[in-house]
Amino acid sequence: MAGESLTVDGVKVSYGDVQVLAGVSIDVAPGEFIALLGSSGCGKTTLLRAISGFVPVDAGRVLVADRDVTNAPPDKRGMAMVFQSYALWPHMTAAQNIGYGLRLRKVARGELNRRVEETMSLLGLDGLGDRLVTQLSGGQRQRVALGRALAVEPRTLLLDEPLSNLDARIRQTVRHEIKALQQQLQITAIHVTHDREEAMVMADRIVILDRGEIAQIGTPEDVYNRPRSSFVAAFMGADNVIPLTAKRDNGGLHVSASDDHADAVLSIADGDEGANLIGSGDGELTAHFRSEAARLIDINERPEGSLVLFGTVTQTSYPGGIYRYTIDVGDRHFLVDDLKKLGVGDAVGICLPAKSLHLYSANPTTSS
């Protein structure tokens, strides 16, 4: 069993007057693991349901291995789905749930039992076959739901937030199990989630959706280190924002000083040292950075190739091991952790090395 390619081409979906998907295109290679990531209401579940055939598509096409299935009913698409609620049938045992798809395919009884057994041992469910699903724990139900989808040896596996009903510790292990199974079976998988870390850990590529459009597609490193837009940067954790004015020349990016920060020359070289600059770099810029990339320094210090913000400590707390400070820069507040002990009212510099900055030209025509 090997996965099939999946193509989503310009898919649009509306519920009444509300456009939920505004033309989404994705190419999924056979055997690839794709995560659809976004906040609630971004259209990720709708996209999954459009792929599975539960939501009619207004425009665009869905292709499985170059076969157009846009108008095919769900039962003719050859995909299997794992639901957030698991949707296990309470009137059947675990084994009956898993064997359902095989029975529909008229698999002979002996073969059917063998494959159910196989699936159950693959998922560590040995001996639970005769239990009603209502007698299983949450983690076991989750595995039965996965087993039911896998038993029919689907070419494409759809996962609709399958881990969100599990408690945090089980979730960590199940993530890796699902990923391992998917690699072992070489199935194409589409996984919907709102959990950033889950998407990063499991997926080959991540599709970030924003208001029905794709904000960025890329590998986990890509979307983390080189977010293409201000939205993706904020969504991937670089949610501290400061406006800058800059000018670009061959030496790098010259940031002019303001009340909030000193002037600086930042590298924009590709690779590990430079800032991630999207757009021309001239004029107004929005800078994003992650709290953990910031360092507190003396307000008069000017490290080479770093931007220094002028701040005042307004709140301190001690979550353990390090101190956490709320630092006001102008009318903005940033949370920065540091080992040094400071007091409320202390003036302090926030040092941001070029490589920690994601810079977006404020002028939208030059962005992207």
Partner: protein
């Protein structure tokens, strides 16, 4: 080979070439015709022989449409000409089938102009097996063509189901009701006249208001309206009182009131009226006692407005109670507690928070009482005296000496207008204004107790009323054991013996009691109708809850409409519509079964909608993604999970078929006599003993059926988490008129 097309094509061909085309004289499921000259006989021949031998040439074009479908039987549904060909076969076939059915009847051409044009033709009778099968075949070929065009995402099963439900409702609800409209415009010779209609509908007997000034009776429309408004108002107030006592007064007997909710289900409505006669009639127990003790001479006060009002109040208060107990319990305790924490005392909390929240529910209960009273036939029939109301006047217009179908039709239109208006208001206005949370999960906390100044007046009403109900039901249960009420109060088993005696004769047991015939007919017909009713209701529920299709709102309104059509109107309309070809059903058992199916379908529909809305939609979707089509999904996933709802719907449609009277009384015949109609007949003859004995037996039979399902449903709780908190077995928040 396209399986669906070939299946329905085969059905159509069997209908055309094999089975008798016209309706047979015998019962629908007897097979005497096989020995009776089939296939060449004029009465039993299939269509092909009718054309070839008996000169029914106008049936020949039907074959064209069947053969058109044959063209695409080997074609893939995605082919360009597949859908249009099937649409042609379906629309053309159905259209032509009904065109010829309505233009050529038992006297040849129905319209003189056509006779002049084409010359005389043979006469023909109603549709039989063959015609029905062919019609079904055309219908499903048509729905397959819609599916092939991509409606309901190409699902043949769903498209077919929608088509089936629409066709059935059109044939057995909309068609007969529209026949009423037509016959209102006809005089007794069938000539269309508008002036006569205007004359009839403005008749002083309907709208007369002279009663305001003089001592004559008002028009029947006003009688009905006044009665319905006062019953609606009265039953709402009383129902609210009962609901408040049950939930908000700390009384040990409080929960016992819930038994009340079962009463309207197992009591044929007129039984209350019957018991009232035995108590307050001229020879009634109470009347006699008053005469003996206080010299109050017996009068006929019970016959007329007061009597009907009392009987309907007794009969319908439990229905209002059932609605309002949900409303009163639905007011979230935390909302009341929020008021209390802001220093509102019990009275202020009730009057500023609880009561305003209940108001939409009260309006709902009022409208239900209004509709019930309007539609009620039994009580006005038994107790009416000179006080005519619409439902009884319709009956007398058809059955009485006048036999004036036009008048019956006009009265039916007036009645229908009243109930449909109330129904519309209920759905569009009150229905949307409900604040009460209907989700299973209640807030924590206890309901505030009732303020003291309300408790005492309410108890003062509730307690005597309860006693009265008790007396009435004692009367029903034990009245049958008394020789003659008012004259000879000695104990006797005579009435039960008359009705239900079994003797041993030459050939074993002889069911010699007078009631056995109608009793078994009732049980048989109801037992056949119950699964059909449930099936139709659940199928409709599935379509409404689980499918999205164009015109779904109209579909929903159409199916719910049969709630609001009073039984008398249905009865009249069935007589008008199904007495002549193409659908000829009067005096058969079939017409009773069909009548029950469409009158009681809402029972199955509501049970199905309630249960299915609780089933996670992902449960079906999981089955679909694994490759099951929607039919398999319904069979293997949805139906097993709905088992409790199915059991409840089965029993309630069975019980409702037994208790119904208003439509039945028009449709019974010598061969198919129903228990309620038989009892009413005994009452008319003054044979109260037998009537009450028979009623008590019916009530016990139904009580047994209801208890059985209660037991069954409460034990079989499938693992559906907390949401499956025992549902009320009865959901009559939208009650069909009796």
């Amino acid at each position: 080979m396209n399986r669906v097309v070939s299946l329905w094509l085969a059905v159509g061909l069997i209908g055309f070439f094999v089975l008798p085309w016209y309706a047979l004289e015998d019962a629908f499921w007897s097979f005497g015709w096989l020995l009776d000259g089939y296939p060449l006989d004029r009465d039993t021949a299939p269509a092909i022989i009718q054309i070839a031998v008996h000169g029914k040439v106008w049936l020949a074009p039907l074959l064209v449409f069947v053969l058109a479908a044959l063209l695409v039987v080997r074609t893939d549904p995605s082919a360009r000409y597949f859908a249009p060909t099937l649409t042609f076969a379906g629309v053309g076939g159905l259209g032509y089938l009904f065109l010829q059915g309505f233009t050529i009847g038992i006297g040849g051409w129905e319209f003189a102009s056509l006779e002049a044009l084409f010359g005389p033709v043979e006469r023909q009778f109603g549709m039989g097996y063959g015609a029905v099968l062919l019609a079904a075949s055309f219908l499903f070929l048509l729905t397959s063509s819609f599916a092939a065009r991509g409606s309901v995402s190409g699902d043949v099963f769903v498209a077919g189901s929608i088509g089936l439900v629409i066709a059935l409702i059109a044939a057995f609800v909309f068609f007969p009701v529209s026949r009423i409209l037509i016959s209102a415009f006809q005089d007794n010779d069938g000539v269309y006249t508008f002036t006569l209609f205007v004359e009839k509908i403005t008749d002083a007997k309907i709208w007369g208001l002279r009663c305001l000034a003089e001592n004559v009776s008002c028009g029947v429309a006003w009688n009905s309206l006044i009665l319905a408004v006062s019953v609606g108002f009265g039953s709402t107030v009383l129902g609210l009182a009962f609901a408040l006592v049950t939930t908000r007064v700390r009384l040990r007997m409080g929960r016992a009131f819930r038994v009340l909710t079962v009463l309207p289900i197992i009591t044929p409505p007129f039984v209350i009226g019957l018991a009232m006669i035995l108590l307050f009639g001229r020879a009634g127990v109470v009347t006699q006692f008053m005469d003996w003790a206080f010299d109050i001479p017996p009068t006929r006060w019970i016959y007329g407005f007061t009597g009907i009002w009392l009987a309907q109040m007794l009969a319908f208060t439990p229905i209002a109670f059932l609605v309002l107990i949900g409303v009163v319990e639905g007011v979230s305790p935390s909302m009341e507690e929020a008021a209390q924490t802001l220093r509102a005392d019990a009275w202020t909390t009730f009057s500023t928070v609880s009561f305003p929240l209940m108001r939409p529910g009260l309006a709902n209960a009022f409208l239900l009482g209004f509709i019930e009273s309007m539609a009620d036939f039994g009580n006005p029939f038994v107790l009416g005296g000179n006080y005519g109301v619409l439902s009884t006047e319709i009956f007398f217009a058809i059955v009485g000496a006048q036999n004036d179908q036009g008048r019956a039709a006009v009265l039916a239109i007036v009645l229908l207008t009243f109930t449909l208006t109330a129904f519309y208001v209920q759905r569009r206005w009150v229905g949307k204004k409900s604040y009460v949370t209907v989700t299973g999960k209640g807030d924590a906390g206890l309901h505030a107790t009732l303020p003291r100044r309300l408790t005492w007046p309410i108890l003062a009403v509730v307690i005597p009323w309860t006693l009265m109900m008790l007396v009435i039901y004692c009367m029903v249960m034990f009245g049958g054991f008394v020789e003659t009420w008012g004259r000879d109060h000695s104990f006797t088993l005579r009435h039960y013996a008359d009705a239900f005696s079994v003797t041993t004769g030459e050939f074993g047991l002889v069911w010699s009691g007078a009631a056995w015939n109608s009793f078994w007919t009732t049980i048989t017909i109801s037992a056949i109708a119950a699964p059909l009713t449930t099936g139709l209701g659940l199928l409709t529920a599935y379509l409404l809850v689980r499918q999205r299709f164009a015109g779904r709102e109209a579909f929903e309104f159409g199916t719910m409409l049969s709630f609001a059509i009073p039984g008398t109107v249905i009865g009249v309309s069935y007589i008008l519509a199904f007495n002549v070809p193409p659908i000829e059903l009067t005096a058969t058992g079939m017409i009773l079964i069909i009548c029950f199916m469409f009158r009681n379908m809402p029972v199955g529909l509501r049970a199905g909608v309630a249960a299915m809305s609780q089933l996670d939609r992902n449960l079906d979707e999981a089955s679909l993604t694994l490759g099951a089509n929607s039919f398999v999904t319904v069979r293997k996933v949805i139906l097993p999970l709905l088992r409790p709802a199915i059991a409840a719907a089965l029993v309630f449609s069975f019980v409702r078929a037994i208790t119904s009277i208003s439509a039945v009384i028009f449709l019974v015949s010598a061969d198919y006599h129903m228990a309620t109609a038989y009892i009413i007949g005994r009452v008319e003859n003054g044979d109260y003993g037998l009537a009450i004995a028979y009623s008590s037996v019916l009530i016990l039979v139904m009580l047994a059926a209801v208890s059985l399902v209660q037991l069954f449903v409460s034990q079989r709780k499938l693992g559906r988490r907390a949401a499956s908190e025992r549902q009320p077995v009865v959901d009559r928040s939208e009650v069909a008129p009796a």
